[in-house]
């Protein structure tokens, strides 16, 4: 029983990070209807930025994530203005191929500049554990989880309560009509895209203390964020938050009950099942 609870707890803690990463993808899909195949590559970029902030400026990722957020936000704005903007009216296939191209460019750049080596931060906190009621809490995971939860809540409040969030929801609902109502659709899209990218980057920065980075580190997270977004209903950021936590717990449980290697099969089976039975997601709404 204790072991199952531990598996659920570990799943919950990673799920918090998945939630933040998935919310970023959901925001981009919701507002722009673009499936971003470069989401994982931007997460990787965030991890490298966090790594160099930590080793060069000696700022821990737990504070450095703010800098990472800023860098990735600007990178997102640039990507939107240079590339994404030009395919907004093109077919889904073209958009997907373009973002896949962006992903290859980022991974290629990382391989060229940093090489294929694994890089890791050896923070003392990663090996500190607390025991509460028979359950082990790894401090690095707990801190990453708390920050991710804070950022996710902030994002939710921005989308739900602020003027720019209202504009984003309007664009998500109907692009053409939003434009007629005086919303600057292009600018709102650019900001939504950049926020989505920044979420991936922060997710990367928070993963760094408990993981390691290499040029293709983003791929499994890319696929996970697809699963999360589908679970939560494509485009719904609240759905993505719940989807992320669910995915983390599902992974933790399968790893415990069956085997670590098959936890991915469960992911995809779940994913196909949701797509077929409830394409609008587990929670059935599709507003951003």
């Amino acid at each position: 029983m204790g072991a199952i609870l531990q598996a659920i707890l570990t799943g919950l803690l990673t799920g918090g990070l998945y939630a933040l990463i998935g919310m970023g993808l959901a925001l981009v899909f919701g507002v722009m209807r673009v499936v971003n195949f470069a989401h994982g590559a931007f997460l990787m970029a965030g991890m490298y930025v966090a790594y160099f902030v930590a080793t060069g400026l000696h700022v821990s990722p737990y504070a450095g994530f703010l800098l990472v957020m800023l860098v990735l936000f600007v990178l997102g704005l640039m990507t939107y203005a240079l590339l994404i903007k030009h395919v907004m009216s093109a077919s889904h296939s073209m958009q997907i191929l373009l973002t896949a191209g962006v992903s290859y460019v980022l991974i290629g750049l990382a391989q060229l500049v940093f090489g294929a080596d694994y890089r890791q931060l050896n923070l003392p906190i990663a090996s500190q554990n607390d025991s509460i009621a028979g359950l082990t809490f790894n401090r690095a995971y707990v801190v990453s989880f708390l920050i991710a939860a804070g950022v996710s809540t902030t994002l939710y409040l921005v989308v739900a309560r602020t003027e720019i969030g209202r504009a984003m929801r309007a664009v998500a609902q109907n692009r053409a009509v939003a434009g007629l109502m005086g919303i600057r659709v292009e600018r709102v899209s650019a900001i939504a895209f950049a926020i989505g990218i920044a979420c991936a980057g922060i997710g990367g920065a928070l993963l760094l203390p408990v993981f390691y980075t290499y040029p293709t580190v983003g791929e499994p997270f890319q696929i996970r964020s697809f699963v999360i977004v589908v679970l939560g209903g494509m485009g719904s950021i609240e759905g993505a938050a719940v989807g992320g936590v669910l995915l983390g717990v599902a992974e933790g449980l399968t790893a415990y009950l069956w085997s670590d290697s098959y936890s991915q099969v469960v992911n995809f089976a779940l994913f196909l099942l949701v797509l077929l039975v409830r394409p609008s997601g587990l929670f059935g709404r599709s507003a951003a």
Binding site: V105, I107, G108, V265, F268, L276, P279
Partner: protein, 317 residues
């Protein structure tokens, strides 16, 4: 066949006949190996084009059929010990069965949902191959060689060109047939296609079967050529993307587009890998971005676009 159709087919036949003569005057193993890969990936591009180009369904899971062809070929030979060419066909048959299952699930979905579902299905197959006992997981399996003794590379090359000729023939037929028009109608507007009496689910599945078969046979020959099948070598998502890129780079929904795409992409990535090493992904990605932004009709649309530019220039002068 009408005389006009025969004349229309003449350049294609001449080109493929010329391709068959290459081993007569070229015996360099590196060159033949490269041309072999060009032909194999042209077949994969043509096969993908049936679904992704003509029917407009962006499949990013075609590696499954390639991999099942390779694994099917290898496992049939190991387990049943029958004739290798029969194993190649059995691999194709296995891929067709998988296509029926995968297609009947994924074709219910549209747009980005369809794309994601093809990735999910392909990843399930990859992870099973990575963890199952009979595939020996990440270690993979040794594949038997279809040819023994002398001039192995020339024989592999020739068999790839024969498969390519069959694929081009099928693509030509599709391009001009009622079936091809149905697929294009589905691509343009699925609801309208349904309204005029085309059953999209049925025709998408009908297009996927030959597509999976050709891809799987190409995968089987490729596995035999590389003498190895492993989850990362012939089931990784990169190959799915490559199939799509080859077709779109050359020209989606055209007969020769995937062949042009394969020549350009396969040769250039070989050169990139040799000269730029780690940078090859960077160049690959940039190429992809440029095609989407500047040449959405693919390379085969280039002569027409240049022609239009020249005509406009003359008009102005």
């Amino acid at each position: 066949m009408s005389p006009a159709r025969v004349r229309g087919a003449a350049p294609s036949v001449a080109l493929l006949a010329f391709a068959l003569t290459v081993p007569l005057w070229q015996s360099d193993v590196f060159v033949l190996g490269l041309l072999f890969r060009v032909a194999i990936f042209a077949v994969v591009g043509i096969a993908w084009n049936l679904i992704g180009g003509y029917a407009g369904q962006l499949s990013l899971g075609h590696v499954t059929y390639f991999g099942l062809g390779g694994y099917g070929f290898t496992l049939c030979h190991r387990v049943l010990g029958i004739d290798m060419w029969l194993c190649l066909l059995l691999g194709g048959l296995i891929a067709c069965l998988a296509a029926l299952a995968i297609g009947s699930i994924t074709f219910r979905l549209r747009g980005p949902y369809f794309v994601l579902s093809t990735i999910a299905a392909a990843e399930i197959v990859r992870i099973i191959a990575l963890n199952a006992g009979f595939t020996r997981g990440a270690i993979g399996l040794l594949s038997p060689s279809l040819f023994a003794n002398s001039a192995v590379d020339a024989k592999f090359y020739t068999s790839a060109v024969v498969l390519l000729a069959l694929s081009v023939g099928f693509a030509r037929w599709t391009h001009g047939s009622r079936f091809g028009y149905y697929l294009r109608a589905i691509r343009e507007n699925e609801d309208t296609a349904m309204a005029v009496g085309i059953d999209p689910g049925r025709y998408k599945l009908l297009a996927l079967l030959p597509s999976a078969l050709l891809t799987a046979v190409a995968g089987g020959i490729y596995a035999s050529f590389s003498q190895f099948v492993g989850p990362e070598s012939i089931l990784a998502i990169d190959l799915s993307v490559q199939a799509a890129v080859i077709a779109m780079l050359g020209g989606a929904a055209t007969v020769w587009g995937p062949v042009v795409g394969s020549i350009v992409l396969t040769v250039s990535s070989e050169v990139f890998k040799a000269y730029f090493k780690e940078a090859h992904l960077l160049i690959y990605g940039s190429l992809l971005i440029m095609v989407v932004l500047f040449l959405p009709g693919g390379l085969v649309s280039l002569p027409a676009r240049i022609g239009a530019l020249v005509a406009r220039g003359r008009h102005r002068a």
